[in-house]
Amino acid sequence: MSLDDSLGIRVNGEHRRVMGGISLVELLNELGLDPLRVAVERNLAIVPRSVFAETCVEDGDDYEIVHFVGGG
C-alpha cells in the first residue's frame, strides 16, 4: 500500500490506482461498467455477482472483467 492510501491493482492487464477501501461494485462504477452485464475474475477466481457489493478491492488484486461481444 502506498502513502496516499490508494491501492495498486490490475484491470484487464492494465495497472490502475484506486481509493483504498472500495468495494468491487464501486470499482465497476468508477470504470463506468454495469455490474449486471459483466463477469469478474479476481486473482483467477470468479467472483459471483451476488457478492460484488461485499467484495473489498485489495492492493495487488488482478481483475479480468469480461462481457459478451459479437462472435461466431
Partner: protein, 263 residues
C-alpha cells in the same frame, strides 16, 4: 404428417429447450451492430453465438451487443472461439455463465490458427470437465462419426461438425461423414462452419441435420440482411426436403410423361 407440412410446427429440442428456427447465427464480423441486429431478425434465428472478451476500460460507453440484440428474446450461446486449450475454454465458459447465468454453451477448442481445425483431444477433455460442472455444451468438432459418438458419451448436448474450415465458405466437404454422424447421434447434430451460400445450408438440412450454425456466410455477403433471409429459406427448404424423402437417383433418363398413348 399433414399434406401441407407446417415448417414452424417442426421444432427441435436441445438440452430441454425447444426452438422453431433451425438456423443459429453468429454475431461477428458485421459492419455495425445495427446491421447485425437486422440480419438476425431476417434470419429468424432464435439463438445467436456470442464471444466473451475483456470490456474496454478506456471507452466503456461504446455500443454494446445487448443494446441491439435483446438476450431476453434471443438465446445467447456463449462460445469459446479463440481458445486453444481445454483450460482456456473452461475458464471462458465459467465467466460466460457468470455474465449470463445459463449453462447452454458452445464449446470449441482449436488446434491451430491456419485451419482453425478443432483439437479433439482437448475438446473431449473440456467436454468432460464442463459436464461435471453442470454445463450443457454444444460441441464444435471434426466431421468424424467416432469422435462425435465419444463427445455424445461425454455428455455433449449437441454435436456440431464442421462442413469446411471456419470462415472458408467452401460448403459441405464430406456429405458421407455428416450423414453418418446424423445417423449415429442420439443428440441434435448441427453443421457448424463452412457454409458459404444458401445451397450449402440446404445440403446440411437434406442430410438430416437438426440445424445449421453460420456467421461469415451472412456477415460477409454484399447484402447481409438479404443473405440472412436466403439462409432462413434454405434451411426451411432443406428440412422439408429431408422430411419429404428424396427420389432415388438413376443413372439414365426416365420420362415424366406416359409412353402409352403416344400418337
Amino acid at each position: 404428417m399433414t399434406a401441407q407440412q407446417d415448417v414452424h410446427a417442426d421444432t427441435w429440442t436441445v438440452a430441454g429447450r425447444t426452438f422453431a428456427s433451425r438456423l443459429i447465427v453468429g454475431t461477428g464480423k458485421y459492419k455495425s451492430l445495427e446491421e447485425n441486429a437486422a440480419a438476425v431478425e431476417a434470419s429468424g434465428a432464435e439463438i445467436v453465438t456470442v464471444a466473451v472478451r475483456r470490456v474496454n476500460i478506456s471507452d466503456p460507453s461504446q455500443p454494446r451487443l445487448m443494446d441491439f440484440i435483446d438476450p431476453k428474446k434471443i438465446t445467447y450461446l456463449p462460445n469459446t472461439a479463440g481458445c486453444f486449450t481445454a483450460e482456456d475454454a473452461i475458464r471462458t465458459l465459467r465467466l460466460a455463465r457468470e455474465a449470463g447465468g445459463w449453462n447452454l454453451v458452445k464449446l470449441e477448442v482449436l488446434g491451430e490458427a491456419k485451419t482453425l481445425y478443432p483439437d479433439m483431444r482437448e475438446t473431449l477433455r473440456a467436454t468432460e470437465v464442463l459436464v461435471k460442472e453442470g454445463f450443457e455444451p454444444m460441441v464444435y468438432c471434426v466431421d468424424d462419426p467416432i469422435a462425435a459418438k465419444q463427445l455424445e458419451e461425454a455428455g455433449a448436448v449437441a454435436i456440431m461438425p464442421l462442413g469446411a474450415p471456419i470462415g472458408s465458405g467452401l460448403g459441405i466437404q464430406n456429405r458421407v461423414t455428416i450423414r453418418l454422424i446424423v445417423e449415429g447421434a442420439g443428440v441434435p447434430v448441427l453443421v457448424d462452419a463452412g457454409v458459404g451460400t444458401a445451397s450449402d445450408a440446404a445440403v446440411a438440412m437434406e442430410l438430416g441435420c437438426d440445424g445449421v450454425l453460420m456467421n461469415t456466410a451472412i456477415a460477409e455477403a454484399k447484402d447481409p440482411v438479404l443473405m440472412a433471409q436466403a439462409m432462413k429459406a434454405a434451411v426451411e427448404a432443406g428440412r422439408l426436403a429431408y422430411l419429404a424423402g428424396r427420389m432415388q437417383k438413376r443413372r439414365y433418363a426416365d420420362p415424366s410423361s406416359p409412353l402409352a398413348g403416344l400418337i
